[in-house]
């Protein structure tokens, strides 16, 4: 039995589940003194306890001064004759009011404590002490897809040009009691799953956060990138092999600031694929997912490599009574490139190995992911069972034409677009990506998939232009070219597919 597989036996399953929970608790207890969570708040810009303390001390001193001062001045006849002690008192009261309303350099005033908007959190509401925080966010992606080159090959298809609402999401996320994070995200786009993320996370220690619910397992780096932050219209072909969202529990954390990051989780093991929804388990087996990520120069070393990360992810689980894959799609999600027949189900161990790297420096950014997936599938009609090997990889690069900083997340333009200001054009970025997906030809040999329609190899090239108008609006124009190769002479489907996609993204 391969390492990491959680076997069906009830006792072991319970132990592993309990172990995950205990591990978090025990390790948390040990580190209470070692890692003071208050220390790392320096980089956040929010006031620290020390600051608050200093401010209070200041207030105390001033009060003491007032109390030890002599009594008030008698009432004056005219405002011009106000005596300095009276003036001092007015000033003191003024200071108190002002610090309450506006805050000081150390503390937040009422102005900052109320509801409002910030670029990071969008619209938010919070309690006076900031321990309860709710961020109301959402985004819309409106697409237009055209197929100027159509589809060529023996069996050319015709794809109609169409408008589409790709994603329409509303998020409620925040914290309660400061250390408990939550998120509930719904998608109201016509073709999507309604519930996206919904999780609770105990976030007290940076090095051990415990999360339960529905969320993205920490596996595919490209998947962890938010759909609005992608430098392309959609994710690469690699997402056909990596898990998307799942029900489960996950422990994550980081050490030495950002240098080491890890994720370790247990999940139902929903079928992978670009369009899947999390599902209830079809068998008692669960899937383990782990990822290790290294940022060697996060704090020291050459500045050019500050944002260079690499790492690998690994999943292992058993899938039975259900197909391990949903239909695999092209990058533009307009054509199915591989689909198991209905009589094929998972029949044992499924594992995924996924090394990756990313690097952002100045105007330049790049990312590369490789995925190798092995899954045992069974054809229920013939009884044939085989471990199938799938492989995919992608390499992408982006370059900003304007003087902006490349980023894994949304590029925040230095000069946000403004009609009235000359030179304020937002940020403009060029991006290119190459991606490949190889399917095990045994799948065709054992009649698990239709050889005439499913290519054995898909190659995709994407070239695009991204225009970040400001922090909230992005416009994209991308061209996707796909080449399909069949597994044998019986392959009759298309040879190429071209798509031209326009997208407007609005985030609030």
């Amino acid at each position: 039995m391969p390492l990491g597989v959680i076997q069906c036996s009830g006792l072991i399953r319970m132990l592993v589940f309990a172990g995950l929970v205990c591990a978090a608790g025990v390790s948390a207890a040990f580190a209470a003194d070692v890692d003071d969570p208050l220390q790392s708040s320096e980089d956040s810009g929010s006031p620290t306890v020390e600051d608050l303390d200093r401010q209070l001390e200041d207030l105390k001193r001033r009060l003491d001064a007032i109390q030890s001062a002599p009594g008030p001045a008698p009432k004056m006849q005219s405002p011009e004759a106000i005596a300095p002690p009276k003036l001092r008192e007015l000033k003191r009261r003024m200071n108190v009011l002002e610090s309450l309303a506006l805050g000081t350099s150390h503390t937040r005033g009422l102005v900052e404590r109320g509801p409002g908007w910030s670029s990071k959190s969008g619209f938010f509401l919070q309690s006076n002490d900031g321990n309860f925080f709710l961020s109301l966010r959402g985004y819309v992606q409106a697409d237009y897809t055209a197929h100027p080159g159509k589809q060529t090959g023996l069996e050319p298809g015709s794809f109609p040009d169409t408008f589409n609402a790709r994603r329409m999401r509303i998020f409620n996320s925040g914290r309660i009691f400061r250390q408990i994070r939550f998120e509930i995200a719904g998608d109201f786009a016509p073709h999507n799953n309604n519930l996206y993320n919904a999780f609770v996370e105990w976030d007290y220690f940076n090095w051990a956060r415990l999360r339960v619910g529905e969320f993205k397992p920490g596996v595919n780096i490209e998947m962890t990138q938010s759909a609005v932050d992608l430098h392309f219209i959609e994710r690469s072909l690699v997402q056909n092999l990596a898990p998307r969202r799942d029900y489960g529990v996950q422990l994550s954390g980081r050490f030495f600031r950002h240098m080491f990051r890890y994720e370790l989780g247990a999940f139902n093991g929903s079928p992978v694929g670009p369009n899947n929804n999390p599902q209830l388990s079809f068998s008692g087996d669960k899937t383990l997912a782990a990822r290790l990520m290294l940022t060697p120069f996060a704090t020291s070393g050459p500045a050019a490599f500050r944002e260079l990360d690499f790492g690998f992810a690994f999943t292992n689980g058993i899938i039975r009574n259900q197909t391990g894959q949903q239909g695999m799609l092209t990058q533009a999600q307009d054509r199915i490139v591989f689909q198991y027949k209905a009589n094929v189900t998972g029949d044992g161990v499924q594992s995924l190995f996924l090394p990756f790297m990313r690097w952002y420096w100045g105007r330049f950014g790049m990312m590369s992911v490789f995925a190798r997936r092995i899954e045992r599938e069974k054809n229920l009609s013939t009884g044939a069972s085989a471990a199938l090997h799938f492989e995919a990889w992608e390499a992408q690069a982006s370059f900003l034409l304007t003087d902006d900083q490349a980023s894994f997340s949304w590029v925040d333009p230095k000069k946000p677009f403004k009609f009235s200001k000359p030179g304020y054009w937002g940020a403009i970025e060029l991006a290119a990506r190459y991606s490949e997906l190889r399917v095990d030809s045994t799948a065709f040999a054992l009649d698990m998939a239709d050889i005439t329609n499913n290519p054995a190899k898909t190659k995709a090239l994407s070239v695009g232009l991204n225009w970040y108008l400001d922090h909230n609006v992005k416009m994209q124009m991308h061209w996707e070219h796909n080449d399909f190769d069949g597994a044998g002479p019986r392959y009759t489907a298309a040879g190429t597919l071209d798509s031209l996609i326009y997208r407007v993204t609005l985030v609030f």
């Binding site: 207030l59 405002p79 004759a81 006076n128 009691f177 509930i184 609770v200 619910g213 669960k286």
Partner: protein, 573 residues
């Protein structure tokens, strides 16, 4: 009506007669009570709104006191610098204890300031021999001007101007009772953002047992994930909108994958004795069904829920009289099928369903203290169901096994009558709840036999706090919320036990309205639960449910028992 039904009516009436509400203090001010009727989201607390309003007014008063001559000086163009306070994922959490300490210090300081101000005022009024005034220095006037400017600026920010509302005009934030909110200055317009999230792990250690047992894999799942918007307009118009995001009840064959609305209603609540509500909301018949799902002592409701409707479309008049000792609901609904699920509930026939519920807490203000948390009442509904099956599949508590279902060709054929006596009793750490339901319904096989079927179900539950906390029908508020750094602050721990039973009319099987070979005639379940309330908003629950099934005939070959072990992390905000 058959004799048993009449019998039930008599019992209910007697029940009501034994506990007559005391008649003094009738129709007085809205009381502060633990009501039997709860929405998933408790109503917006008008008192808290008023308190907030007072706070604002106080600030305004103090401001006006400080700056009387604001017109003379133009507003200085001072920009309010907002320190970086973005909500960042990576912000390390502060220790709540230290913050509490700080807050205490601030309050202490404010008190001292107030005392000092009063002392000073008193001194000035009594014309105490004051020291001779110092000669005004040449800079005094500039100082005054500067002060005036600052006062004006503060007023601009807090009080606002004509076209520029100040902080006091629209406030938002978080309070314990209301959660996250936005409101107008007077509190007449109020908006709350709430949500509930239940992340579960469900397993079946004993599996299912019987001649033809099913296989139940263990699984992670999200039982409920909803966010709602709840508000008030013009003070007395309350509304609640809760969309379902599709994954709520993944097990429902009927609503799976279809977005729908859980709650959506408008209510006029000017008078506490008569609230008027229209839209989609819970049919107010069952005590357990009316308890918010987040407030249950168990993970899910008992088997009794299989015989009563969940949510329905309709109109309702409800209220409380005798300062909350008596509450009632009277509603007319489409007549949604008795169900595990919240259905859209579009009527299939013109016949509507009438629901009445009465609940009394006779010792709320008088009588022995240990009876204060005692409440008793009954609900009943009468309606006409045709052209539609009156029941959805009945499922076990874990929602994982369907133990009863009518065959496809069975439809409602007329009258449907439900009686539901109910009681609870909460005293200190202990809580008891019990309910019984009897449903009588005309059913018919299309082109076949017709019959009047009577099903009944009951449940009894007891809960006990291991920690020193108070049991309640509403949300448990731990005396010592969980805090890592505070010894002894472990939240609240509660043990709970429940027994529930449902018995279906044997005629259902003998007339072939359901498959006697597959579906059980009786299900009995015992639930043992441990609740860990970390604080007012978060709880972790473990439940073990054992269900026994009995068939109607010897032909029954399906499961004879089911053992489910379930865990849940629940967050409400």
């Amino acid at each position: 009506l058959r004799k048993p039904a009449l019998h039930t009516v008599v019992v209910c009436v007697l029940f009501a007669a034994v506990f007559p509400p005391f008649l003094d203090g009738c129709f007085s001010a809205t009381p502060e009570t633990t009501l039997g009727y709860r929405d998933e989201v408790p109503p917006i607390d008008q008192r808290e709104i008023d308190a907030l309003r007072k706070r604002i007014e106080e600030v305004q008063k103090r401001l006006h006191k400080g700056g009387e001559s604001q017109d003379a000086v133009p507003t200085p163009d001072r920009r309010v610098e907002r320190p970086g306070m973005d909500y960042q994922d990576d912000v390390a959490p502060l220790d709540p204890d230290e913050l509490e300490g700080l807050q205490r210090s601030v309050e202490e300081l404010q008190q001292r300031l107030t005392v000092f101000e009063q002392k000073r005022k008193a001194l000035g009024e009594h014309a105490a021999p004051a020291p001779p005034a110092a000669a005004p220095s040449p800079g005094t006037e500039q100082h005054i001007t500067a002060l005036e400017q600052r006062i004006t600026e503060l007023e601009r920010i807090l009080v606002g101007k004509k076209d520029e509302p100040g902080l006091a005009d629209l406030i938002g934030g978080w309070t314990k009772r209301n959660g996250f909110f936005l409101q107008s200055a007077a509190g007449d317009f109020f908006l709350r953002f709430t949500g509930i999230l239940q992340a579960d792990f469900r397993s079946f250690p004993g599996g299912q047992d019987g001649n033809n047992p099913g296989i139940q894999p263990s699984t992670f799942l999200l039982q409920r994930a909803r966010f709602s918007v709840h508000g008030r307009l013009y003070r007395y118009f309350r509304f609640l909108i809760t969309p379902d995001l599709g994954n709520g009840f993944t097990n429902s064959p009927l609503i799976n994958g279809r977005p729908q609305l859980f709650d959506g209603f408008v209510e006029w609540d000017r008078v506490s004795e008569a609230h008027l509500r229209v839209g989609k909301f819970k049919n107010p018949i069952g005590l357990e069904m009316l308890q918010g799902i987040q407030n249950l002592s168990f993970m899910e409701r008992s088997l009794v829920r299989n015989l009563i409707p969940n949510r329905d479309l309709g109109a309702m008049l409800s209220g409380q009289v005798l300062r909350g000792r008596l509450e009632y609901q009277l509603g007319v609904f489409n007549g949604a099928p008795s169900a595990n699920f919240a259905e859209e509930g579009k009527a299939f026939s013109t016949g509507k369903s009438l629901t009445f519920r009465w609940f009394s807490q006779p010792f709320l203000y008088q009588g022995p203290g240990w009876l204060q948390g005692f409440g008793v009442g009954f609900g009943m509904s009468y309606g006409s169901i045709r052209n539609f099956t009156g029941q959805d599949p009945m499922q076990t508590e874990s929602f994982s096994y369907t133990f009863f279902q009518y065959t496809n060709n069975v439809t409602g054929n007329g009258d449907q009558l439900r009686f539901l006596p109910q009681m609870y009793w909460y005293w200190k750490r202990a809580g008891l709840m019990g309910q019984y339901v009897r449903t009588t319904q005309d059913e018919r096989i299309i082109n076949g036999a017709a019959a009047r079927l009577t099903h009944d179900a009951w449940s009894a539950q007891a809960s006990f706090f291991l920690t020193d906390d108070t049991a309640t029908y509403g949300r448990v508020d731990p005396r010592r919320p969980f805090a890592f750094s505070k010894p002894g602050h472990w939240g609240a721990w509660e043990l709970a036990v429940r027994y529930a039973q449902i018995t279906l009319d044997p005629e259902t099987f003998s007339l072939g309205m359901s498959d006697a070979g597959v579906f059980a005639q009786r299900a009995e379940s015992t639930t043992v639960g441990l609740n860990w309330y970390l604080n007012y908003k978060v709880k972790i629950v473990g439940n073990f449910v054992h269900t026994d099934f009995t068939g109607a005939t010897s032909a029954y070959h399906a499961a004879s028992k089911e053992d489910a072990l379930m865990f849940r992390v629940q967050l409400v905000y």
